[in-house]
């Protein structure tokens, strides 16, 4: 256990030493909420959003954004680099299994996502009076399911790409459509119905839907939960089967 903690702390420290990653993972989602909140129109209730304000909607989207950046862009690149550079192989010669390093990297990404998500909620609440999730337990559940679903896709990418650079490229390629369906450019509430339905089956679309439902006082819908568990099972198992240590 103490080795796992040491490795996790170490991974977090390494993450903080990458200025771009540290900024985008920890601060950018909160900054985005801050910027959007400064636009007066976005602080007025909108009929299109069922009486919600744009800023209310974007808090959930910003939380999903954190997960996408860490799980799809950062984590696969780090793990693929660890394999490419022989770091996992070196670890295989020590009493600590490389699996522990992998778990520590996942834990570090999750901790970062939690801190960043909390920051988003705090900025929304304090600066723009966005209500905290009405169904808080549901929000945590939706968050964890979304994190697990997205991270297992990230693990799968790390398992199949040959290099860290390729990991980053594939991750970025997945990032944009994923965030599109999560509503980063066009909130799900104003998407045409068919587009929203497609989004329901994407990891971040389902994740954002679950988060939004919890923000407005409901438990995440069964569909969202099932979709996310599905991603976890399918990509988690595939990653476990395909992951090469060297």
């Amino acid at each position: 256990m103490t080795i796992f903690r040491k490795l996790t702390v170490n991974e977090l420290r390494l993450l903080l030493r990458e200025p771009m990653v540290a900024f985008f993972a920890f601060l950018f989602p909160a900054v985005l909420v801050g910027i959007l909140g400064c636009i007066p129109d976005f602080r007025d209730p909108s009929a299109d959003l069922g009486g919600l304000r744009v800023i209310d909607v974007y808090v959930g989207i910003a939380v999903a954004l954190t997960l996408a950046m860490l799980g799809l862009q950062f984590m696969p690149a780090v793990l693929a680099t660890y394999r490419e550079k022989g770091i996992l192989r070196r670890m295989a010669t020590t009493p600590v299994r490389p699996m522990v390093l992998l778990a520590a990297q996942l834990a570090a990404s999750l901790v970062s996502a939690l801190i960043s998500g909390a920051l988003v909620l705090a900025v929304g609440r304090i600066a723009f009076d966005v209500a905290l999730p009405a169904q808080f337990a549901g929000f945590v559940l939706a968050y964890l399911l979304a994190a697990l679903g997205v991270f297992s896709i990230g693990l799968f990418v790390a398992a199949v790409v040959p290099t860290g650079k390729a990991g980053n490229a594939v991750g970025t390629l997945l990032f944009f459509p994923s965030m599109f369906f999560a509503g980063l450019w066009l909130p799900r509430e104003v998407m045409p119905g068919w587009l929203r339905q497609i989004g329901d089956f994407t990891p971040l679309g389902a994740g954002e839907r679950g988060l939004h439902e919890a923000m407005t006082g409901h438990w995440p819908s069964l569909l969202s939960a099932t979709v996310l568990v599905g991603y976890l099972v399918v990509f988690g198992l595939a990653a476990a089967r395909l992951f090469r240590w060297s």
Binding site: I87, R89, R90, T93, T94, P95, S246
Partner: protein, 301 residues
């Protein structure tokens, strides 16, 4: 007493046979070298011993255990080729972290001092020179106080001074009772460090001996070079049964042969009142023995 036993090891990757048939034993407390040209199967052999690869055939025991036994990870330190660390991890962080992996680690500060890394503790991996990275890699292999250290291409990338310093360190580690398995393609390193050597070529052991034994076995021929003070008829030299050939390089004469060659040649010269200037007796070193060994197996194929 053997701490590593390798018997009829065989390993292929797809259609390429990396290791055809390798057997040897390594005794407690010795420095055992594996020598061979590039692509001979050296690294594959040690990776099988380190438990990183599964042999297709043959048996390996390390400290009476199977190579993949988790217990061995505490007892065997491994330094691999091309094994890096995260770019932004400092030397101190790496040493501290890796020493936490082991139940009875060595004092990492002392290790850093012995390897000349004590002034680089705050430096991040990406900023280290090739030699410093290599020394850190050696430190990490020794940090668990292993009973066996496997070192692959130990001094590749080190400058001559750092190489000699590292040799000194390896000898001091052996003096503490650690058995060392060394992969190298530096003859000087093998000659200086190794108690015994296995020469591997094309996936097979082609010779197994002490460095001096290898040289002696391979060099049946002696070579004498000198500048005679007066012209000398070749036939005089060739008349002696010990002399195999006489060659002229300008005014320099090269005589090859066997047996008591030096005595035969010098007494012949003396009886003709010729003085041999710049007389040199050339003896094979490990380099020559190695080249001859690997050439011989190439011709046999």
């Amino acid at each position: 007493m053997a701490v590593i036993e390798v018997q009829n090891l065989r390993k292929r990757y797809g259609d390429t046979v990396a290791v055809r048939d390798v057997s040897f034993t390594v005794d407690r407390g010795e420095i055992f070298g594996i020598l061979g040209p590039n692509g001979a199967g050296k690294t594959t052999t040690v990776e099988c011993i380190a438990g990183l690869r599964t042999p297709d055939d043959g048996t390996i025991t390390v400290l009476d255990r199977r190579p993949r036994d988790p217990e061995l990870r505490k007892l065997v330190g491994v330094q691999l080729q091309e094994s890096e660390l995260p770019e932004k991890m400092s030397v101190r962080e790496a040493l501290e972290l890796y020493s936490a992996f082991y139940p009875e680690p060595a004092d990492w500060r002392a290790l850093a001092r012995d390897l000349g890394l004590d002034e680089k503790l705050g430096t991040r991996f990406a900023k280290l020179s090739g030699g410093q990275k290599q020394r850190l890699s050696i430190a990490l292999a020794l940090i668990g106080n292993p009973r066996i250290a496997i070192l692959d291409e130990l001094t590749t990338g080190l400058d001559p001074q750092a190489r000699r310093d590292t040799w000194g360190l390896i000898e001091s580690i052996r003096d503490r009772g650690v058995t060392i398995l060394l992969v190298t393609h530096f003859m000087e390193e093998a000659e200086r460090l190794c108690d015994r050597l296995a020469v591997i070529d094309r996936g097979e052991v082609v010779a197994l001996d002490t460095p001096a034994g290898l040289v002696a076995a391979m060099s049946s021929e002696q070579r004498i070079r000198f500048r005679p003070s007066a012209p000398l008829d070749d036939s005089l030299l060739l008349a002696a049964p010990e002399v195999a050939s006489v060659r002229h390089h300008g005014s320099l004469l090269e005589v090859t042969g066997s047996g008591n060659l030096l005595f035969v040649v010098t007494s012949l010269l003396a009886s003709h009142q010729i003085v041999a200037h710049e007389l040199r007796v050339e003896q094979d070193n490990l380099d020559d023995a190695f080249v001859r060994l690997t050439q011989r197996t190439a011709e046999e194929k």
